[in-house]
Amino acid sequence: MPISFTVNGEERSVDVDPDTPLLWVLRDELRLTGTKFGCGIAQCGACTVHLDGMTRRSCVTPISMAEGSDITTIEGLEGPEADAVQAAWRAIDVPQCGYCQSGQIMTATSLLQQIASPSDEDIDNAMAGNICRCATYVRIRQAIHDAARTLEG
């Protein structure tokens, strides 16, 4: 039975096993490959998307749970916080290999949507589940602070 939801503002419907991870659907069915597979067990954060406005590890989310929901991936991320984050990322060259960065940006944007001026502790708490094997953590934290200052005007 088809499962229907919205991805990046477009209504989509897929007919797959209800237990199929959302990540598989995004990448293999919808060809939205900006969201990455890292671990498959919610330990690394590379697969982070927004589901009804909240961060969500798509590798452990059954597609059945997405019925009727509003999903945003890195391809469709927009708004002042997203713009500020992506500009800050570019300004100080946050990525090294870049593999984890779509997940990092999805979480960083969600954080700024909820806390306009996060402390180091707020950032660490929000980003603790987004692992970067290039260890760009210092630049990630700096870029989030920079984005927050941009949003303050």
Partner: protein, 198 residues
């Protein structure tokens, strides 16, 4: 070793499964003639459930633990203002409305889930308390969510998140017995005066 592979290796090294336990039923305590002593003994049996990792992991003072060995939650998470994690990393960032079986990579066979999924409030923290202290806390409406003993029984016997403890998904040892048995023990404990072990 990368941070990720180190964390997975630690998870594997620490994950020692518990043996499934059973529960004795109220009838097994009828030979204790003194009602107060029988009540306290019934609570001690309930304590097998209350102090089981399936329950204690989400009744912490601060951050939750996980696994049968109650290791720190990985990835690191905090309680947060609403017992629901930090902004940007809530419980539901990873936990769905039901258990989700993974492919078993990294020794994690399933991600636990239930609707709702959150920590017990901090006033209901049980970690490091004696069974007698947990008993006193459970009876105190200031620390049990404002519940009467009857409402406490309903919570133990029927609440879905409590019931998750017996259906925790692949890779986790269920709480001892069943929720029905736990409910019957709670009923008998209340009916005998809800005495606490010393």
């Amino acid at each position: 070793m990368t941070r990720f592979s180190l964390s997975v290796a630690m998870t594997l090294a620490l994950a020692a499964p518990l043996a499934a336990q059973d529960l004795r039923m109220p009838a097994d305590f009828e030979n204790i003639e003194n009602e107060t002593e029988r009540s306290a003994a019934l609570f001690e049996e309930m304590g097998k459930v209350l102090t089981h990792p399936r329950c204690l992991n989400c009744h912490p003072k601060d951050s939750p633990t996980q696994g049968d060995d109650m290791h720190p939650h990985e990835p690191p998470v905090i309680r947060g203002d609403a017992d629901f994690g930090a902004p940007g990393m809530n419980c539901t960032t990873c936990h769905s409305s039901e258990n989700f079986e993974t492919t078993g990579v990294g020794g994690i066979e399933s991600i636990p889930g239930h609707e709702p999924w959150s920590l017990a409030p901090v006033e209901m923290a049980w970690v490091d308390l004696s069974l007698g202290e947990i008993c006193a806390q459970l009876k105190d409406p200031e620390r049990n969510g404002g519940r009467s003993l009857e409402e406490l029984h309903e919570h133990m016997a029927e609440d879905g998140l409590v019931g998750w403890g017996w259906e925790p998904g692949a890779g986790r040892t269920p709480a001892p017995g069943s929720q029905d048995m736990f409910g019957e023990l709670t009923r008998a404990w209340i009916d005998t005066g809800a005495a606490c072990p010393s």
